[in-house]
């Protein structure tokens, strides 16, 4: 039976359904759905509400704001609690660079693993999977002393500098190889074989055939990588000590830690300013996010 006819029958069935039957078949799904939505949304609601609550304390914040004021946003942008705009800019730089480079380098490697045949390919792929499973964080002491050593020779790349922080995060550059290789494998090989016969080099096959086909999915991968970097706060809190180099995660955490109960409003306002762009992007790319996260599963 085609889906169209099944939909039609179900719609007509629904119209004729008495309420009790409708409740048993469909209505309870709405009840569960609404409960799930409430569970999913209440912390977000709380953040928004706390951000417009002029008192800004834990005890005075609830799900519904008792008063409305933009005072926390104003004090953030004015820089009363630290150079918020600077942190924002730093975050954009770090997340943007790391996500772009990470996905680009992963894409390069994924192309080699998907399309080229060479000795050590299988072992390379498997050891990559293994290495990426090790939490880099455990080697933090070593990373710290390496970075401080590099900083002595080239201060530009040392501790407490954004470029230094960025290159350390680039250690995860091959993190997306498996995912992207999965996408490449779905593009028929005949396509690039034909292109090679037409006179394309391997680089042209890569840039002119594979990349355009997968642009939306790669964009989504970049977004997912971006949000991953956005949450990175551990290395950041060790590396970025001066106010001018902090990222939002480090800066806002420090602010909240300084006075947990009274800085909640400002923290919430900062959070809203981070969350809103991300949530909007997610809504736009929803279709691809679903596709992207299951691609690995389909591959097995």
């Amino acid at each position: 039976m085609s889906t169209q006819t099944s939909q039609q029958t179900s719609v007509t069935a629904q119209r004729r359904m008495p309420f009790g039957r409708w409740m048993a078949e469909v209505g309870w799904r709405h009840v569960v759905g609404i409960l799930a939505v409430a569970f999913a949304v209440f912390p977000i609601l709380f953040i928004v509400s706390a951000s417009v609550n002029p008192l800004g304390t834990v005890s005075s914040s609830g799900l519904i704001p008792k008063a409305f004021s933009l005072v926390h946003y104003e004090s953030l942008i004015a820089g009363d609690r630290g150079p918020f705009l600077r942190w924002y800019a730093n975050t954009v730089i770090v997340c943007g660079t790391v996500a772009l480079v990470q996905v680009f380098l992963s894409t390069l490697a994924a192309y080699a693993f998907s399309r080229l045949r060479f000795a050590g390919r299988r072992i390379g792929l498997l050891s990559l999977l293994l290495v990426m499973m090790f939490p880099a964080f455990l080697a933090m002491i070593a990373i710290y002393s390496m970075a401080s050593g590099l900083g002595e020779a080239i201060p530009f790349l040392g501790l407490d500098s954004l470029p230094g922080y960025i290159i350390v995060l680039l250690g995860g550059s091959l993190g997306q190889v498996w995912l992207i290789k999965g996408f490449f494998d779905t593009v028929p090989k005949e396509l690039d074989e034909a292109a090679i016969i037409d006179g394309c080099s391997h680089w042209q096959v890569f840039t002119k055939i594979l990349l355009p086909t997968l642009t939306p999915i790669l964009a989504t991968t970049i977004l997912l990588a971006l949000v991953g970097v956005l949450s990175e706060f551990l290395l950041g809190s060790i590396f970025l000590t001066s106010n001018d180099t902090k990222t939002l995660a480090v800066g806002l955490y420090g602010m909240l830690e300084g006075d947990r109960s009274n800085n909640l409003g400002v923290f919430a306002a900062g959070s809203v300013m981070i969350m809103v762009p991300v949530i909007i992007l997610y809504q736009f790319l929803q279709r691809y996010i679903v596709g992207g996260s299951t691609a690995g599963a389909v591959k097995g």
Binding site: A36, I196, I289
Partner: protein, 526 residues
């Protein structure tokens, strides 16, 4: 010449722009190498020198010819992976055989300097300086650097425990009223912070020469005094010039110290040295530590498995319930349920930690209960799992929705024709098919949660802690326990923390191997 695909054609003659790009890039690499190598030699950064030179050679070999095509694509990512992921792991293994930690960071020479400098006493003709305290690290724990102004001449000096006092170029500092108020690369402590760090500052002694050192007096003064102790390099002993006591090198615990004639540790300073397997011995034979490790391991497994199971069950149930074509507003539900996935983790965790506040937290006030969420070990564990459920279920919901829609409709049709009820179809047909499809993701999610440091540290900071217990709190998983050992209150013990890390690396490797088998990734690579 090796072509990636069937060699039905020859590599085309390269275009002029391509050659130009190649020349420019290789030239840039050469320039950067030529610029950085002298700096690295000057600072004696041998490891970085090796990295730089090897990378430059590799770039030239791989990119200057038409050969090594896979290498051209693999090199950039592999370079970063090798330098910032694999090298640190190897270094960590090295540290695990040393006594690296607070008080043992430096060389023996630095330790001796520090011991001698600490024995300074004030004399009548001591020089006095106006002092500002600066740090490049933490304003409470240091390490501290002293910036001194000689009120007579206005000359500015600086030094720390390991660096001898030396004049500072005037361009690097701002001096107001004969005090240094700004120094490039340093944060100058405010007087309140100097007070907070008072005890630590009393221990600071900046060496001036062999017989004298600078010590701190009050909040903004420092003086040069002479040392009571002298070091005899030939005999490797330290002599007290007042009492005549002689201290020799002896082993206390697993490290060497200067000890008195009874073999007791005379000074707290030690130096970086090889301690063999003693860190591992301590991990596996010290019954307290081994017990903590096992307890943390058990909870780590519960936490990781529980998180995966909870998020999957909730996500899958929601996907089944909301994936009904008769349901209106499915897209809306999906959009809203996706939202928690878009909230950056650190924000979500910090906000949730406020919810659990016993007196003011949203959960207790809304439900009208008075549960001590983060103070009771069991409730804290439930709180951690509940929060992780919120953070993780949207992902599982998305994934299982996608997988459900990918299951062909005729499979369900066939089940129904065979007389299966809707429930039977779901349990016996849909679930097994779906599990096969998402098993690798469940495994990945398990691996992620196994080392999910943020979920613990940002929510409970490992707590609650039993009285007198500092290494492991009620919700500490292995990785956050290591963090506490390495950076915890009782002084950093990097050597031991590295040994625990290596043990956790090994454990992760074993788990990964089991998972590889389980998901048969190994057979499927193509």
């Amino acid at each position: 010449m090796s072509s990636p695909l069937p060699p039905v054609h020859r590599e085309r003659s390269t275009s002029i722009p391509a050659v130009l790009v190649r020349i420019i890039v290789l030239g840039a690499v050469l320039a950067v190498t030529a610029f950085t190598v002298p700096l690295m030699i000057q600072q004696q950064q041998w490891m970085w020198l090796a990295v730089m030179v090897l990378a430059a050679i590799a770039i030239f070999v791989i990119y200057s010819t038409k050969r090594f095509i896979p290498g051209k694509y693999l090199f950039p990512g592999t370079f970063f992976l090798a330098v910032f992921l694999i090298t640190p792991i190897i270094l960590t293994v090295g540290y695990s055989f040393s006594n690296y930690g607070d008080g043992t960071r430096g060389t023996k020479e630095q330790a001796v300097n520090s011991i001698i400098a600490n024995s300074v006493v004030q004399t009548d003709d001591s020089t006095w300086y106006n002092m500002s305290v600066a740090t490049q690290g933490d304003p409470v724990e240091g390490p501290f650097t002293l910036f001194l102004v000689d009120p007579a001449t206005g000359t500015v000096y600086s030094g720390d425990e390991e660096t001898e006092l030396a004049p500072v170029p005037a361009a690097d500092v701002t001096v107001e009223n004969n005090y240094v108020t700004e120094a490039s690369g340093y944060t100058i402590l405010e007087s309140r912070e100097v007070n907070d760090a008072y005890n630590a500052l009393q221990e600071v002694a900046v060496p001036v020469d062999e017989n004298s050192a600078v010590r701190v007096q009050g909040a903004n003064q420092a003086y040069v005094g002479t040392t009571l102790l002298t070091y005899d390099e030939a005999a490797d002993t330290i002599t007290d010039t007042q009492t005549g006591a002689v201290y020799t090198v002896g082993t206390v615990g697993d490290s060497e110290y200067f000890v008195n004639e009874n073999g007791e540790r005379a000074f707290s300073q030690s130096w970086l040295q090889n301690v063999g397997w003693s860190n591992y011995q301590r991990l596996f034979t010290d019954s307290n530590i081994a017990g903590q490790f096992l307890a943390a391991f058990a909870w780590t497994l519960v936490f990781a498995l529980g998180s995966v199971a909870l998020t999957f069950v909730v996500g899958f149930a929601l996907a089944l319930i909301l994936n009904d074509e008769r349901l209106k507003g499915r897209r809306l539900y999906r959009s809203i349920l996706l939202m928690p996935y878009a909230v950056p983790g650190f924000i979500a965790l910090l906000v949730w930690s406020n919810f659990y506040n016993q007196d003011f937290g949203l959960i207790n006030t809304t439900l009208g209960i008075n549960v001590n969420w983060l103070g009771d070990p069991t409730m804290a564990k439930i709180a951690v799992l509940l929060t992780n459920l919120w953070m993780g279920f949207p992902y599982m919901f998305i994934v299982t929705t996608g997988a459900l829609q990918a299951i062909p409709g005729d499979v369900m049709e066939a089940a129904r024709i065979d007389g299966a009820s809707r429930f039977q179809t779901t349990v016996k047909v849909v679930t097994p098919l779906l599990l096969v499809a998402v098993a690798p993701l469940l495994v990945a999610s398990f691996a992620f949660n196994f080392n999910n440091f943020n979920a613990i540290e940002l929510l409970t900071e490992g707590g609650p802690f039993l009285p007198g217990e500092y290494t492991r709190g009620g919700t500490d998983i292995l990785i956050s326990m290591i963090y506490r050992i390495a950076f915890g209150g009782s002084g950093a013990d990097f050597g031991f923390a590295s040994a625990v890390s290596v043990a956790l690396f090994a454990l992760t490797g074993v788990l990964a191997a089991i998972q590889f088998r389980f998901t048969s990734v190994l057979e499927d690579v193509n």
